[in-house]
């Protein structure tokens, strides 16, 4: 998918530059010197086996896990500026992280939950603590819920929604937040095929508006369908490969990441996206 013309500022600076991220849980190193850049309008799939540090990488970049301790170093730049030293509320207007699940311990309607995405506009110079919800907030929430097909759920309590419906609401929350970089951590895994198709198109539209998206999914085929580029992480703490998703999803890389699975790479006949199958290819079967 190279039909998106990069804008001028995009040529100068990547939306997100991630340089030399290392992270350690106690004594156990999880990430070691991960470096990549995410351009505006780019959808990147972050792939790798369980425990390869995909979520950790996203959380470190989003500022949920803090750098600075022993073995936790690196730099994150947003359009060339140091991202992690920005105030929380400014960061939240640039980048948000969408977790696999979305729950509240207390009664909360879907609309209220999406409205929470507007929290960052109530801080700093743009608002005060007693500023009421503005029309702008309401419009953003309505629009985001409409895009994410959850407008019909707006008065339902989060407790009463299914896992997939909660994921739609969480995505609407992130979109209402009006960020420019969107991190999706298995955030679409429970949606049905209808929803996945619509959300895939939505991500494409957002990318064409200059949003950068990074998504983690265990469903390699889903990720390869949507993503322009791929970043493969392995348990060996290193980046195995990065680049165009077609190049990254090679049989060599896939067998390196999932050595026990016996996988083959094919192509989706209608979209041309690489597909991963269980079992050996016909060619291999002949040579056996």
């Amino acid at each position: 998918m190279d039909n998106i013309e990069p804008t001028e500022s995009c040529i100068i600076k990547p939306a997100l530059g991630v340089y030399g991220i290392s992270y350690t849980y106690g004594d156990r190193p999880v990430l070691s010197d991960v470096t990549f850049e995410l351009e505006r309008g780019e959808i990147m799939a972050l792939l790798g086996p369980n425990g390869s540090g995909k979520s950790t990488l996203m959380k470190v970049i989003a500022g949920i896990l803090q750098l600075g301790a022993d073995g936790c170093t690196g730099q994150v730049k947003y359009l060339g500026n140091d991202f992690l030293s920005m105030p929380f509320w400014i960061r939240a207007r640039k980048l948000t992280y969408v977790a696999p699940d979305f729950r509240a311990e207390f009664p909360l309607t879907a609309e209220e939950a999406v409205m929470l995405g507007r929290t960052c506009y109530g801080f700093g110079h743009g608002g005060s603590f007693f500023r009421a919800v503005t029309n702008e907030d309401r419009e953003a929430v309505h629009e985001a819920m409409d895009k994410c097909l959850c407008l019909g759920l707006k008065d339902r309590d989060l407790h009463t929604l299914s896992g997939g419906e909660r994921q739609l609401v969480n995505l609407a929350r992130a979109i209402a937040q009006g960020v420019k970089v969107l991190f999706l951590d298995e955030a679409l895994s429970r949606m049905d095929l209808n929803h996945q198709a619509v959300i895939g198109k939505l991500l494409r539209v957002l990318a064409s508006q200059g949003w950068a998206v990074m998504l983690v999914s265990h469903d390699v085929n889903l990720a390869s369908e949507w993503a322009d580029t791929g970043l493969l992480l392995n348990k060996g703490l290193c980046v195995v490969a990065k680049g165009k998703v077609k190049e990254v999803l090679s049989e060599r890389n896939i067998s390196l990441l999932y050595p026990g699975a016996g996988l083959t790479i094919g192509v989706n006949p209608s979209t041309g996206a690489p597909k991963v199958f269980f079992g050996k290819s016909e060619k291999d079967r002949h040579t056996d």
């Binding site: 949920i64 301790a69 939240a92 948000t96 311990e105 207390f106 209220e112 929290t119 603590f129």
Partner: protein, 294 residues
């Protein structure tokens, strides 16, 4: 002669109202509102429906202060039982605060630390009681079960304004509290500086609880039941929840105090016993009926 007699009676009535009833009502409303607001904030802060001032051990610290103060005869030195209790609450709060500023501490570990601190405090109280003369600690015992009968006008006004100011400051953090409803990680990604906010809120809540507990003893269940009940009607957003929780907390403790004075005349039941007796079934009803919805 007759009119003079009536006049005296009227004066006595006024005196009863101003010196006894008014402080008591002020104290009951302030303590009820304070504990209920504190409970609502703690529940959001730890995303845990079971958090309340007692789970965190702050009131336990106050109990330790009160019992030690009484037995050591310190209550005349540090402004009465309330003074030593407040010191106890502050010491335990300081311990909690030291736990909360450790790097990498999560809401769950903090809550567990609070529960442990609470047990530790109760054990200290039990130990002290077992070792000391039982007559001497009668006052502390009565206080432990919740006691509004010590109310004096000046102290009640002080408490009332303290609770009002602290609750208002907590209300001004509604945006952060709302964001915490969907968890700490989500709150961070939505622009809330969670570590700082948590420390600030813990400090404010501790002051609020220390104030309430030192004035009126252990009045359980208000901080747990009232916020849950109010949420069922107005939802969980704090701009609506906190004022209403405060209001209904005040009503609940005032009503419980009324019950404690009226139903066992001429004796007084400790108000903490009444809130627990009435609060426990209500809480059970709340959680069971919520299960049905989910």
């Amino acid at each position: 002669m007759l009119s003079l007699k009536y006049g005296v009676i009227a004066d006595a009535d006024t005196e009863v109202i101003i010196e006894l009833r008014l402080p008591r009502i002020l104290l009951a409303t302030a303590v009820g509102a304070g504990l209920s607001v504190a409970g609502a904030v703690l529940q959001a802060l730890f995303s845990n429906p079971l958090s309340e001032p007692y789970t965190l051990g702050i009131s336990s610290g106050a109990a330790v202060g009160a019992v030690f103060g009484t037995t050591l005869g310190l209550e005349w030195v540090v402004a009465g039982l309330a003074g030593t209790a407040f010191c106890g609450a502050l010491v335990f709060t300081l311990l909690l605060y030291l736990v909360s500023i450790r790097p990498g501490i999560t809401a769950v570990t903090f809550l567990l630390a609070g529960v442990m601190l609470s047990f530790f405090g109760s054990s200290l109280v039990a130990l002290w009681m077992a070792l000391s003369d039982s007559n001497g600690i009668q006052g502390a015992m009565q206080w432990l079960l919740g006691d509004l009968s010590r109310a004096r006008l000046s102290g009640a006004w002080f408490l009332f304004s303290g609770v009002f100011i602290l609750s208002f400051i907590l209300l001004s953090r509604w945006r952060e509290l709302d964001a915490l409803l969907i968890g700490e990680e989500a709150a961070i990604t939505m622009g809330v500086p969670v570590p700082t906010v948590r420390r600030r809120l813990i400090l404010l809540v501790s002051l609020l609880v220390g104030l309430c507990v030192s004035a009126a003893g252990m009045i359980g269940f208000v901080g747990l039941v009232v916020p849950h009940a109010v949420r069922r009607f107005v939802g969980s957003l704090h701009l609506r929840l906190l004022p209403l929780a405060g209001l209904w907390g005040a009503v609940a403790v005032t009503a419980a105090d009324f019950v404690s004075r009226m139903f066992t005349q001429p004796y007084e039941l400790p108000v903490g016993v009444v809130t627990a007796l009435l609060g426990a079934p209500v809480f059970l009803w709340i959680i069971l009926s919520r299960q049905k919805v989910a």
